[in-house]
């Protein structure tokens, strides 16, 4: 899923200051799963903002609505009337959803309520970890299912580096050394020999480095 974290209230307050009537639009997919922007979070945020502005003697009118996903037009359309009757939209969707909203409702003010961070998984209750950076040319078969592009802080193809200590990365004791994980896992699979070969420099063209990407499925274009 895409993982995001709600922006600090102080930052959201400043964004909303010019708008006394705001639609808080939640998204029921990724951001709901990581507790940043689903229906519950939209409701909580509305209450918190009313309290926060109330302390200054300002009142803000918030309307809360959540759609299934903000990255698909068919779902965004459902919010059209709500968007129309408010002065600004605080979208709690990931960056893609915010932009889809801006595209769809060209005359509306669409503001981002969360900081979108990474593509990841729920490793255990309450812990989301970054797993994939969308390099466009997946080599997980080479690395025993652990991605060095994303999880090695230096993106090494032929790791580890000299800073790996006790299975942790030099940048933080909370960060696992991906190469330690790769070596351990491939040893367990009996495939350590495969890591002895030279892995060439990565071709970054399929990644964001090659420019913003798009995907066309001719079989679905009508």
């Amino acid at each position: 899923m895409i993982v995001a974290k709600q922006k600090p209230i102080a930052e959201i307050k400043e964004m909303l200051r010019p708008y006394p009537k705001v639609l808080i639009l939640g998204c029921g997919t990724c951001v709901k799963t990581c507790f940043a922007g689903g229906e519950d979070e939209a409701a909580t945020l509305g209450a918190v903002l009313r309290l926060a502005f109330g302390q200054e003697g300002k009142s803000i009118k918030t309307e809360e609505l959540t759609v299934e996903r903000q990255c698909e037009d068919a779902f965004i359309q459902e919010a059209a009337q709500a968007v129309g009757r408010n002065q600004a939209v605080l979208s709690l969707a990931c960056g893609a959803g915010v932009q889809a909203m801006a595209r769809r409702f060209g005359k509306a003010v669409i503001l981002p309520g969360v900081n979108t961070t990474f593509m990841g998984v729920l490793e255990k209750p309450g812990l989301f970890t970054e797993e994939c950076s969308g390099c466009g040319d997946c080599e997980l078969d080479t690395f025993g299912g652990i991605c060095p592009v994303t999880r090695c802080s230096k993106r090494l193809m032929n790791g580890p580096c000299g800073g790996s200590k006790n299975g942790k990365c030099e940048i933080s004791p909370d960060t696992d050394c991906a190469w330690q994980l790769i070596i351990d896992h491939m040893t367990a699979l009996g495939q350590l020999e495969d890591l002895k070969r030279y892995i060439p420099a990565k071709d970054w063209r399929p990644s964001l480095s090659g420019g913003p990407r798009h995907l066309i499925r001719e079989d679905h274009v009508i």
């Binding site: 993106r155 580096c161 000299g162 800073g163 030099e170 330690q180």
Partner: protein, 309 residues
């Protein structure tokens, strides 16, 4: 003629000699006098001087420029290059430029992560890793081609080095990584500074067993300590450092100039042990901001004079 310049470090090692190199950190500014001073101190007591590349991700004068200043003094540089800050385009470009200026030795590294440095807000590059860089430099030298297969107008014929850390984890894999670097193009290896001799000997033993010491010149790292505080700092704050309790204890027993002397003693004892380990072909002295200690250390270790050829 610049192209006539040969690598003295290479001559010493291929000639069967025990090589000595030291390290020189460029200034955090444009002051070339810092390099001149360090260069004068080291001239004549080492075979070559490594110039670090924005080491510990702290912004400093470029390695390329500092190497050129050393050349002006008649000191042979080893240009260090990290892959953290430059992509393959810039790296290959700088290598060609460096060779054209008379630089003959190159050390290929990944580099410390920028989050630990002086400008952690910077984006990192890591387009290629140090092993890819070794491969690229070797290809430039031996095939005369860049990474796209383009035939170069004068190939940079560098003497190629890499760093290895016998003290980082995982221990067993460290020898695999050494083998990979050699296969990719490393002619010589400089290791992280040695305080834990038993662990270092074990790593050398494994390297010998794999036949790697026949294929590469290994130079062991040495750092003379100056205080217990320094020993403690290295033990806890420097990535990939292995500082045994016994060494910290020895340094804790003394202060001031006595501590500096003790640090020197430890370094000399270590050098003496290193010289008799099969496969160790030299030492690399990393006297961080204490380059003035190097001449005395080399002399006391019985490693002077250095050949001037």
């Amino acid at each position: 003629m610049k192209s006539d310049v040969q690598s003295r470090l290479k001559s010493v090692l291929t000639g069967g000699g025990f090589a000595v190199t030291a390290e020189c950190g460029p200034p955090r500014g444009a002051n070339a006098n810092v390099i001149y001073k360090k260069g004068e101190l080291l001239k004549g007591c080492v075979d070559a001087v490594n110039v670090t590349d924005n080491q510990t991700a702290v912004v400093r004068m470029s390695s390329l420029a500092a190497c050129l200043h050393l050349l002006e003094l008649g000191v042979e540089p080893v240009m260090q290059m990290v892959t953290r800050d430059r992509n393959r385009i810039a790296l290959q470009s700088d290598i060609m430029g460096a060779y054209s200026l008379g630089i003959r030795n190159l050390l290929c590294l990944s580099g410390d992560h920028q989050s630990l440095g002086s400008q952690p807000e910077a984006m990192n590059v890591f387009d290629i890793d140090s092993v890819n860089l070794l491969h690229a430099v070797r290809t430039m030298r031996d095939e005369g081609e860049d990474m796209s297969g383009f035939t170069l107008n004068d190939a940079p014929k560098m003497f190629i080095g890499a760093a290895e850390n016998p003290f980082a984890d995982p221990l067993a894999y460290r020898v695999v990584r050494l083998a990979k670097k050699i296969a990719a193009g490393a002619d010589f290896i400089q290791t992280q500074c040695v305080f834990n001799l038993p662990r270092f000997k074990e790593w050398m033993r494994m390297a010998c067993e794999e036949g790697l010491t026949e294929k590469v010149y290994i130079m062991a790292g040495i750092t003379p300590l100056k205080s217990a505080k320094m020993a403690q700092f290295m033990a806890t704050k420097v990535a990939g450092m292995d500082m045994p309790e016994s060494v910290i204890k020895r340094m804790s027993g003394v202060t001031g100039s006595a501590a500096v002397e003790e640090g020197q003693k430890i370094a000399l004892e270590t050098i003496a042990e290193l010289r008799i380990i099969p496969g160790v072909r030299g030492i690399h002295i990393m006297a961080i901001e204490a380059e003035e200690r190097v001449p005395e250390l080399v002399r006391a270790a019985g490693l002077l004079p250095r050949s001037q050829k």
